[in-house]
Amino acid sequence: MYMSRASLKIVGASGQGLISIGEILAKAFKRSGYCVFGYREYNSLIKGGHGSYQIDVSDSLIQSSEETVDVLLCLNHHGFEYNLHDVKDGGLILHDTATWKFSKEDLAMFKKKKIAVQFLPIEDILKKLKAKPILGNVLFSSFVWAAFGGDIKLLKLLVGERFAKKKDLLDLNMRCIDEGFAYQKETGCHLASALPKADKKWKDHLLLTGSQAMGMGIVHAGCRLYAGYPMTPSSPLLSYIAEVQNETGMAIKQAEDEITAAQMMSGGNFMGTRAITATSGGGFDLMSETLSLDGMIENPSVYVLAQRPGPATGLPTWTAQGDLLMAVNTSHGEFARCVMSASDSEDAFHLMPEAFNIAEEFQTPVIVLTDKHIAEGIYTQKLYDQKKTKIRRGKLIVKAEELKKVKSSDRFDPTAKDGISKRWLPGAKAATYNAQADEHSPDGSVDESAHNAVLQMEKRMRKMDAMKQALPEPELFISGQRSEVRGQKDQALDLLIVSWGSNKGVILDVLQESSFAKKKIGYLHYTYMWPLKTERFEALSKKAKHVVFIECNYQAQLLQLLRMQCGTKENKVLLKYDGRPFFYHELKEALMKHLP
């Protein structure tokens, strides 16, 4: 069951075109029948900072990056120096600078590791074609694609799609492709051996980022208003939603700040549409007062919190899972909320209708966690099954005859079962009410009595119990298998891994390794973080020889939450807080140590 994988990394300065090359090649691989996982690194600078675009490909599902690659494509010397040691034995380094001299050590290393270095005369070829430097990207892509034994027609098709709107450039692009293939032939540089066999099922898959997946999920969920403010790594979501606005008909507001964005999202949901906002940690801090408001007025509301390493500005373009405890505990006062976390392009899409459904059913704010790794990760994704989506709006009343019957005091009726009272929308021909941020009586009038305060607090908090009941238990996976295991609460496991969010991909990839597949290893993956279901965890952890938590934060925040909710025995942790996700071999080796 060893996963066969190959990888390619393009390195250089941000703005040098590494994204173009990466995107073209990633698409080319996918269309040729590979599952692709893309991972970008870059600094918080517009240009000049070191950046990379890595593509890992496999014939089977792959959702992680290796730390070393088969091919390193260097767009500048700094990139070469920086990533020199990330090339596998027998790998290839490509570059386009005729004048590079390599140090003795480097040459020795190349020799020892059997690494080939190939120069591409990009500048000369471009000069010959009278093409601008930007076309170097296509030349590079074309050479690499040819070296991988790729189909020239496919590449032309892809590049054609990209430049469909710039007809004048199209011809030059095609000539670059020809030149790239020609030069590859000349050099005889071949890479195909590193590739597993293609599987045509991937051809029709989507190739998209987690942000695009989430953006489509938002549109799909019937969300009609997006109010946001740019902040990495939530900005790509804003950009995507904005880009497709003329197709979707959504109203988009780039607000003056995050407080505004949150208030607008809340105002839109209050009025009865579905509205969303997204931000990262610092912006979320600013939204936290509004979160508390939504808790009080029992307003369905959806916040996307895209994590990056903090505190403060931290590492704006890197990844982390450091905001879980905050999402659960931030905002003054005590109120019901739901916190869920996306893991990959699949649930980044499907969680969105769910987030709105839960928000409306429980009349409560919902926080959807994601992180930079998901937001900018590039996934090969099966076409989304749109048939399974249902819109659930809970106790929302829309029928005229029912509206006639409601009383103002139904809106915040504290005797409501599960704490969820009737809801109807402004404009409805019905008794009116007050959505009141002060503690209030059932119709929303201020009521400061002790009696009422207790009733209303308990009404609102009862929703937590109801929600906990309604939410699914965490998913269980068993090593060697890629899909979820149902039931089987009382498996005796050699090792129980507990994790959440974007770690899912790499953990599942690693668990396909034979050394793990032959043991009984369980992976309990949390998607619904608050209220926290603990039953399955308690049952499994009792019977597991070891339990290890894998998180991209310092405090082991999920572990902290589980302790708070159910107490746990001594657990091990595998934590990472350097802004990078867990990489494939890194995790594999770390987990090896925990194998019994």
Binding site: S266, A435, G444
Partner: protein
């Protein structure tokens, strides 16, 4: 000052009646705005279920449970964006936002600035009592310099914010000024504001006998003068009238421009939509979007 109401208006006025007793101090200008609001809505034949009234926090915010209508009583300084988005979501419903001078020129001044430049199609009524009433009389940005206030025993060290010049610098499309001692005028202003195409900024000079001992009811009564023969389309003249309060304080509708499209009208994706955002909540097919990623 009492004008006979026609029966329809009278009937609607009754529908706006709430059983909750008012809790403002005697002589508070909030009584007047409260009455004028109900009256303006009734005269425009808008029933309580046909309007959304959004309140900020403060003494004025305590209006929220003293009348009927769909109401929202939100956070300090934040009423504008909430109200704006509510309106954009259902363009069929008139939406009014009410806020204090503390809320609007301190905590929430950014929202005011951007609401004006966004020209949201809502009414904003400023309860301008020159102080933080509900938190017991601290200075706001509009408190006069040199006046001793709670927490400012030496008077404020900042300049008083020149609110009207400030608002005009943002190219508003509707500016009016009322005085809480003149309910009929407030009713006229509010009716025009509710009917305005874009963002209607209504500055209500509000007596606060408990904490505002400088711009008192009597002070305002003496100075406020209804503009006469004023061309409300003359931006420059309107601005001068609004800014210069050294002798008289011009009240009434000072400026209005109906030619500027409001925010919703400027949204290209909404250009020819007949439905509201509220109407459109349903599963949306994203096949065409997926196609872009194959």
């Amino acid at each position: 000052m009492s004008i006979p109401l026609d029966t329809k208006t009278a009937a609607l006025m009754k529908e706006y009646h709430s059983e909750n007793k008012c809790t403002w101090c005697d002589g508070c200008g909030d009584y007047g705005i409260w009455t004028a609001t109900k009256r303006a809505l009734s005269e425009l034949n808008i029933a309580p279920h046909e309007v959304l009234l959004c309140y900020d926090i403060g003494c004025h915010g305590n209006t929220s449970d003293k009348l009927m209508g769909y109401r929202f009583h939100g956070l300090h300084g934040r009423v504008l964006p909430f109200a704006a988005a509510a309106k954009l979501s259902n363009m069929k419903l008139p939406v009014m936002a009410f806020g204090g001078d503390g809320a609007s020129f301190s905590e929430g001044v950014g929202h005011l600035v951007h609401a004006i430049r966004s020209n949201y199609p809502i009414v904003f009524v400023l309860h301008n009592n020159g102080n933080y009433g509900l938190t017991t009389g601290q200075a706001s940005s509009l408190t006069w310099q040199g006046k001793k206030m709670n927490a400012s025993p030496n008077g404020i060290p900042e300049h008083t914010l020149p609110s009207m010049d400030f608002v005009f610098s943002l190219e508003p499309t509707f500016v009016a000024r009322g005085f809480t001692g003149d309910i009929p005028q407030m009713v006229e202003i509010l009716k025009a504001a509710i009917s305005h195409r874009g963002f209607a900024f209504v500055d209500m000079l509000q007596a606060c006998p408990t904490y505002n001992y400088f711009a008192t009811h009597d002070y305002l009564l003496e100075r406020c003068t209804h503009v006469q023969n004023h061309d409300t389309s003359d931006f420059k003249k309107a601005r001068e009238l609004a800014v210069d309060t050294s002798q008289k304080i011009a009240t009434g509708i000072l400026y209005q421009n109906e030619d500027v499209p409001n925010f919703y009208e400027r949204l290209i994706p909404r250009q020819d939509k007949k439905t509201t955002l509220v109407d459109e909540v349903k599963v949306q097919d994203v096949s065409h979007l997926m196609q872009q990623f194959v």
